[in-house]
């Protein structure tokens, strides 16, 4: 049995459905992330787990027990608030001791437990300070220490790193992973930042408009998005849309708009004529100048196909298309090229600037050839 079970939970605010029949089972010891754009319902869901909000429908079970009748203070669940919510009139020690005092822990045991919590979050020596004397990262740690000191069953984190600058955020991400391993408490983490979710989580539930779009491990979600929303939300993605023209033998062909027939490895059984889409990451597209092949590209030169006069090309396992560079964006480590096909389809491609074999930068107006293997994309019905 899962530790935390969310069963068909819905929450409506007037006409707006913030959370729409969500079911999630979270295992003990898991680092679980609710990921989605603002307004997708992730925070509302978290608040319902904490008890600050109640579901209109559905149940939330912890260790098999329905939490509906338990107010926030009686749930073995602690929240790390986005604003940290440290009590400004209490010292760091006072903040961490507060949940112990509320739990009527014998006064003699409090100092040792506070010290242990300070140690957990690496804040030894900061106990006498007040919240306004701490940096953002330190406040963050106090908030986590305060939440962990009573050893809750589940720790809820509401965008805890949103207020920190990029560098500190990365440090805290590593610390959070280590801390979670150390204390072994289940983390339910809410964020709108997909890289943060991919980096931290064991599993991710991608939410949109109150619903869970996809629930899987980070690598699966990135490589095999099951919906257009997930493909678009997680990283950059080209969505090639069009009717399915053929399927079978593990390959689906669609007549992509502005592009032509595109083949993609997929075991999906789709009947011809139905519309579908292929999600294609920019970095999976190889780009080469269409006139000179030798040493100019990172594409495999030996597999260069015969180009047809209308700009389309085919081989057995690869997709090949001609186009013109219409925009480029130099980003330091990589360059993004927007390539337009003669039929007006725009694809975003991405080349590493220091990759092996990379010797040429393209200019606007350059004629290029794009290619990607059949298994580079992912078919979405």
């Amino acid at each position: 049995m899962a530790l935390l079970e969310i069963q068909n939970v819905s929450r409506r605010f007037g006409d707006f459905t913030a959370v729409d029949q969500v079911s999630i089972a979270i295992e003990a010891g898991e680092f679980f992330t609710l990921l989605g754009p603002s307004g997708c319902g992730k925070t509302t869901l978290l608040r319902m787990i904490a008890g600050f909000d109640l579901p209109d429908d559905g149940r939330i079970l912890l260790n098999g027990e329905d939490l509906a009748d338990r107010p926030p203070e009686q749930r073995p669940v602690r929240t790390v608030f986005q604003s940290y919510a440290l009590f400004p009139h209490m010292s760091v020690e006072g903040n961490i001791a507060f949940p112990l005092q509320m739990a009527k822990t014998p006064a003699a045991e409090v100092p040792a437990k506070v010290q242990a919590a300070l140690e957990d979050v690496r804040l030894i020596g900061f106990g006498k300070r007040y919240p306004h004397e701490l940096s953002g990262g330190q406040k963050q740690r106090v908030a986590i220490g305060r939440a962990l000191v009573t050893h809750p069953a589940v720790l809820l984190l509401d965008e805890p790193l949103a207020a920190l600058d990029a560098k500190l955020r990365e440090e805290m991400q590593i610390e959070l992973i280590n801390l979670q391993k150390e204390v072994g408490i289940t983390f339910v983490y809410v964020t709108h930042d997909q890289t943060e979710a991919l980096a931290l989580s064991h599993r991710i539930a991608v939410m949109n408009k109150g619903r869970v779009e996809q629930l899987d491990q980070p690598a699966k979600i990135y490589s095999f998005p099951t919906s257009r929303f997930v493909a678009d939300f997680i990283g950059k993605c080209n969505l090639l849309e069009g009717p399915v023209t053929a399927s079978g033998n593990g390959v689906v062909t669609i007549d992509a708009e502005g592009l032509g027939p595109v083949r993609v490895a997929s075991s999906a059984a789709v009947t011809g004529g139905k519309s579908g889409a292929i999600a294609l990451r920019p970095e999976k597209i190889r780009v080469a100048t269409s006139t000179s092949a030798v040493g100019a590209t990172i594409a495999e030169p030996d597999r260069r196909p015969e180009a047809k006069p209308d700009g389309r090309s085919d081989t057995e396992s690869n997709n090949h298309f001609r186009g013109t560079v219409t925009d480029h964006l130099y980003l330091g480590d990589v360059t993004v090229y927007i390539v337009s096909t003669p039929q007006g389809c725009k694809l975003e491609t991405l080349l590493a600037n220091s990759g092996a074999g990379r010797t040429k930068f393209f200019e606007v107006g350059d004629a290029v050839e794009m290619s990607w293997s059949v298994d580079a994309g992912h078919f979405i019905s």
Binding site: P72, E73, T79, F81, A85, F87, A147
Partner: protein, 257 residues
């Protein structure tokens, strides 16, 4: 660009002069050795001496202090409750009841309470004045407390609950200490409003009860004497002290929101 055109400075200086010259004159003449508030004759403390031997004045001051103490205490408790309720819960009736007494001309509250007390056969006196003062002070306290709550991070109360505090414990250990400066500022405001009130007191005090403002009123209706200047100066000093303390505690007191 000149940020402060001379004309603006001059107009603003005139504004401040308009506000303060009359009060300064009252203070200055309280030390003037002349019955007339006309020409400076010489320095004296006689008027203060007279004041402290004026039995009517002293008993009026005693009444005022007693009413102000009771009214500020009760209205602080009720006003804090109202402020918390108005901020935290969506209530329609409470804000109307709390804020209307502040918004309408004072005389309306004075005469309606007069009818009310007389019809109830409630003897007009210290008690009726205090009850009336509480009613109009609640709103001022509630506004200050609500402003203080609005400046407080809402998640602090939730964090307290999350840490295992019951609603009462969360209020007692987190919310109340954090809004305390607002509560004290509200109490000082209520005290000042009560001790200074003339209009509502005028209608609800009845014939036998005299407060300081009522005493001042009857004195200036009869004759202008520097004794009034002296009591005015003392009253201004008291008010000044209370308001400076209150505004120190709640900077937002100064803002009209």
């Amino acid at each position: 660009m000149r940020r402060h055109p001379v004309a603006l400075w001059a107009a603003a200086a005139a504004g401040y002069a308009f506000l303060y010259v009359p009060l300064i004159i009252v203070v200055v003449y309280s030390f003037n050795n002349s019955r007339l508030n006309a020409e400076w004759v010489g320095f004296t403390l006689d008027w203060y001496d007279k004041l402290f031997h004026n039995q009517e004045m002293l008993s009026a001051a005693g009444n005022s202090l007693l009413i102000a103490l009771v009214a500020s205490l009760v209205s602080t408790v009720l006003g804090t409750m109202a402020g918390v309720a108005m901020y935290r819960y969506k209530t329609r009736l409470l804000p109307i009841l709390v804020l209307t007494p502040i918004a309408i001309p004072e005389i309306l509250m004075g005469v309606s309470l007069l009818i009310f007390f007389v019809l109830l056969n409630f003897t007009l006196g210290l008690a009726s004045v205090a009850l009336a003062h509480i009613a109009f002070c609640i709103g001022f306290v509630a506004i200050v407390v609500r402003a203080r709550l609005a400046g407080m991070d809402e998640s602090l109360t939730e964090a307290a609950r999350d840490c295992g505090a019951t609603p009462w414990q969360a209020f007692r250990h987190v919310t109340l200490p954090l809004i305390m400066p607002g509560v004290i500022a509200g109490a000082l405001m209520a005290f000042t409003l009560s001790i200074d009130d003339f209009v509502i007191t005028f209608f609800t005090a009845g014939a036998g009860t005299v407060t300081l403002p009522l005493q001042i009123y009857s004195m200036i209706k009869i004759a202008v004497t520097p004794e009034v200047n002296a009591v005015s100066t003392l009253l201004m000093l008291l008010t000044l002290a209370l308001i400076v303390i209150a505004s120190r505690l709640t900077p937002s007191l100064l803002r009209s929101d």
